[in-house]
Point group: C2
Chain length 212, copies 2
DNA sequence: TATATTCTGGACTCATCAGTCCAGTCATTC
DNA sequence: GAATGACTGGACTGATGAGTCCAGAATATA
């Protein structure tokens, strides 16, 4: 609840930016690892090598800190659209995209961010939204752009690239991602690869332009 | 930690089965609504119209109660394969299945079970597994069976019905389910319907047998 | 009726954790 | 070197919640 602004920033000892970063880092780690309830301010302060009071001085409250932590995390873990080569045809580019996406999806980090955002949906509705936009939505947009470009070149018969992008990405999740999400025995790697290949092939088949 | 067995079940006042059920019901409701941490034993006892001690007498500990509650819930909320008509062709049956699945998926209950199982993944790994088997896995199997039957009749060109079933079901989740999961503004109903129709059409296109 | 057991409800312990307060120390600016 | 504000660490408050204990009431069997 406290106002976080410095009383007179020009005078006295300035707040340490290093400490601020340390705290935020520690918060990201601990919140992701243990969830909101599971990570105490004391733990975070200790992990950052800082007193509890300093945490409050920098961030005001646990809630505020939580918001900033998750937000900072989401912003840096998106799928970068830069690595999509628009000149490559779908048969080359889609398997590549699919594999990258699957790797991201099945990692420990995605699982945790997912868990946090899901479980805190009620207490922190804005977090889910934040993650949705910086995560899935961004990935979808990148794919949709690529698909649209291919459609324009006549390589794919897609009228609604947005739909098609969601279809591809959601499809890729498959059994493997559910198993990760719900802590089940993971699928063997070759089964995952086979599934992904099958998805891409199926997708291309559905959207291949009619032969001339 | 306490042993829950009655000391001498034949003698004395027997444990009330009614109370047991009431407690379990209340536990399901409150755990689903508030999560594991959010639902206190006191709340549950109160909701069941019973003393806290009775809860402990019946279930031993909060953890045990939690496990039984989620387990009982999962068992009764599966997708029933009975309502699939194997004689109907894909063009008729798949849109029907897709709609039913989407309704289930976007409901409040699915969201909550999902949230609980996801957030308790670390403390209660067996719960996720339980849900996975009684939920998604069962639905997938029903669809896979139907697809296999259609493949056998030559109506679909599917060699791996399991893959195809996961593809269809995962694809259907789409943007709408992500929005539900992450507490975002829901999509308008007509957009959801359009997406579902598009998915089914796309699926059938990909698996239509080559013309003779 | 005697006995065994459940159920109640309230009091109790124990632990955890968010957030505050404060006195003393440290770094920075004027 | 004086004023100012950040930082520390420990003590403190207040709240919450799991699990236990107990005395008395209720309910079943023998």
């Amino acid at each position: 609840m406290s106002a976080i602004e410095a009383k007179n920033p020009a005078r006295g000892r300035p707040r340490s930016e290093t400490k601020r970063k340390k705290i935020l880092e520690a918060a990201v780690d601990l919140f992701l690892a243990n969830g909101y309830e599971g990570a105490s301010v004391e733990d975070i302060a200790a992990a950052a090598g800082v007193s509890r009071q300093t945490v409050y001085s920098h961030f005001g409250s646990k809630e505020d800190l939580f918001g900033l932590a998750v937000s900072s995390r989401c912003k840096k873990s998106g799928v970068d659209p830069d690595r999509i080569d628009y000149s490559q045809p779908p048969e080359v580019m889609l398997p590549e995209i699919a594999r990258r996406f699957a790797t991201l999806l099945l990692g420990e980090d995605a699982k945790r961010v997912n868990a946090i955002c899901t479980s805190c949906a009620d207490t922190h509705p804005e977090l889910g939204q934040l993650f949705f936009e910086h995560g899935p939505c961004q990935a979808k947009q990148a794919v949709a752009d690529y698909l649209a470009s291919q459609a324009q070149r006549g390589r794919l018969a897609i009228t609604n690239p947005g739909f098609a992008a969601w279809q591809l990405l959601c499809m890729l999740k498959g059994e493997a991602q559910l198993r990760v999400q719900f802590n089940c025995e993971p699928l063997p790697a070759d089964a995952i690869d086979a599934y992904i290949d099958d998805c891409v092939a199926m997708f291309i088949r559905a959207y291949t332009p009619a032969a001339v």
